[in-house]
Amino acid sequence: MRLKCPLCGERDRREFYYSGAADYLSRPEAGAAPAAWDDYLHNRDNPAGVTRDLWYHEQGCAQWLVVTRNTVTHEITAVELVAGRAAE
């Protein structure tokens, strides 16, 4: 499996650290109810099909990436910088 980092180009899967679903980007507000924190930390859609998850280009540019991929076929359709998204 290879991921195409927007900064470094196509790189081997081993250069990346997988952190989990992109849900981690939707952090609740500081005063949010405990249920919101539980949902954020633990519950997942966990789709069999297209998903978006967070990868860290540990052995490359050290950027966090949002990867759109298919959990059944392992096909990767998009890799975006988290930093770029935040600035949008």
Partner: protein, 416 residues
């Protein structure tokens, strides 16, 4: 039909014409007293104990493929009771005791082999942690023996004790740990449930869960609707999809775990062995193949196959631990879909829907749990109260903070 040595001999004498299929292949009835979704190890044992322990025999197991075609037929068959945390300890201890009587219970040879499990350690700190775990196991009533380096060398002389990175300091021996024949466990429970009147319905995928006024009333399937006042979801890697049919979002992420087997060799490895510094474990099957595996591929996946980096990593760990393995040829590798929970421990609990129950979150350790999970899930479905040894496997423990993080690695699904 009861299986016995005499039966084997008489059948052998008369051309083996008297054997019958081990279970019926019934069409679904329009309604049952209870339905178990999923015909893996846990679903089949749940059905068996619902019938055996609670007298519920007008029940069905609905399996989308064939019985035992999921993880129960894909795992590396390690059976052990070496857990540390209260909650896990008593559950796995109960399971191991059920394993020890399983063959006579089911009248089926599940090839349970208590060949001993040795977890190797490679530092002073790891030795202390293992000593503490061993004490916890003994306190629970199970067995553990702390071996020093010479003790390990006596049992496993062919390990590479002097590796520069991870020299072997010793091992924690769990004599009652071992392996079993995975398919046979599914088949044994299937046959036992069928003999008690349970309908095992294959090629029957559940596509919807019918709920009226907060109560479950039945399921939609590819073979038509089936009504039941109690439904258990026991579908391992597919838990998120089936629970979503009841509007639930679970604390589960599905990951692929790979395993490998070599060509058949003469007996060489008598125990189950795990490497404490690289995730690698190995045993030898009764056919002679070396069965081994390692960690998850680490990213969410429903492809029952993995990627090459983990293959390479597992092979490297094997070579580090026991260089002799380099002479064996790998025949096959495969993957299974693991229902990973945020703390690495399972869930056996009610849901927000009356009559709907959930058994999932087995991570990569659910094979040894097959007997006790069925026992406790059946208890929950029949009595509406959690079984004593599974009372901490609650769905709301992530919200309440009562986590069972055996490895202490934190709330991330792929770290357990």
């Amino acid at each position: 039909m009861r299986y016995s040595g005499l039966k084997v001999i008489t059948e052998g004498l008369f051309g083996n014409k008297g054997w019958k299929p081990a279970w019926r292949n019934p069409a679904p009835k329009p309604a049952y007293d209870a339905i178990v979704i999923g015909g893996g190890g846990h679903g089949l044992s749940t059905a068996y104990y619902l019938a055996k322990n609670h007298g519920l025999t007008n029940i069905a197991v609905l399996e989308k493929g064939y019985l035992g075609g999921g993880n129960v037929g894909r795992n590396t068959t390690i059976v052990r009771a070496n857990y540390f945390l209260p909650g896990n300890q008593e559950f796995y201890s109960h399971s191991l005791k059920l394993w020890e009587g399983l063959e006579s219970e089911l009248n089926y040879n599940v090839m349970h082999s208590q060949r001993g499990l040795i977890n190797l350690f490679h530092s002073d700190g790891q030795r202390d942690a293992f000593a503490r775990r061993g004490n916890a196991m003994i306190t629970q009533g199970d067995d553990a023996i702390l071996l020093d380096r010479d003790g390990v060398r006596e049992l496993l002389p062919w390990l590479d004790f002097e590796q520069t990175r991870f020299p072997i300091y010793g091992g924690l021996l769990h004599p009652r740990g071992g392996t079993a024949r995975h398919d046979a466990v599914a088949w044994g429970y299937a046959r036992g449930a069928d003999r008690r009147g349970v309908d095992l319905i294959q090629n029957c995928e559940v596509t919807g869960i019918d709920i009226e006024g907060g109560k479950v009333v039945g399921v939609q399937t590819t073979r038509g609707p089936i009504r039941a006042p109690k439904v258990g979801i026991v579908v391992a890697g597919r838990s998120s999809q089936v629970a979503a049919m009841a509007g639930m979002r679970l604390p589960i992420e599905s990951h692929v775990l790979q395993a490998f087997v070599t060509e058949g060799l003469k007996p060489v490895i008598n125990h189950v062995i795990s490497f404490g510094m690289g995730h690698f474990y190995i045993s030898q099957s009764d056919k002679g193949g070396l069965v081994f595996g390692g960690d998850l591929d680490f990213y969410a996946s429903y492809a029952a196959r993995g990627n090459l980096p983990m293959v390479e990593h597992v092979m490297e760990a094997g070579m580090t631990l026991m260089p002799m393995i380099g002479r064996a040829r790998v025949l096959r590798s495969w993957g299974g879909i693991m229902d990973m929970s945020p703390d690495g421990s399972p869930i056996i609990d009610k849901t927000h829907v009356e009559g709907l129950y959930l058994d999932c979150g087995w991570n990569y350790g659910g094979f040894k749990a097959v007997p006790a999970s069925g026992w406790c899930m059946a208890h929950l479905m029949a009595t509406d109260t959690p079984h004593e040894v599974a009372r901490r496997f609650r769905l709301d423990r992530f919200a309440t903070g009562h986590l069972l993080d055996e490895e202490g690695t934190g709330s991330q699904h792929n770290l357990h």
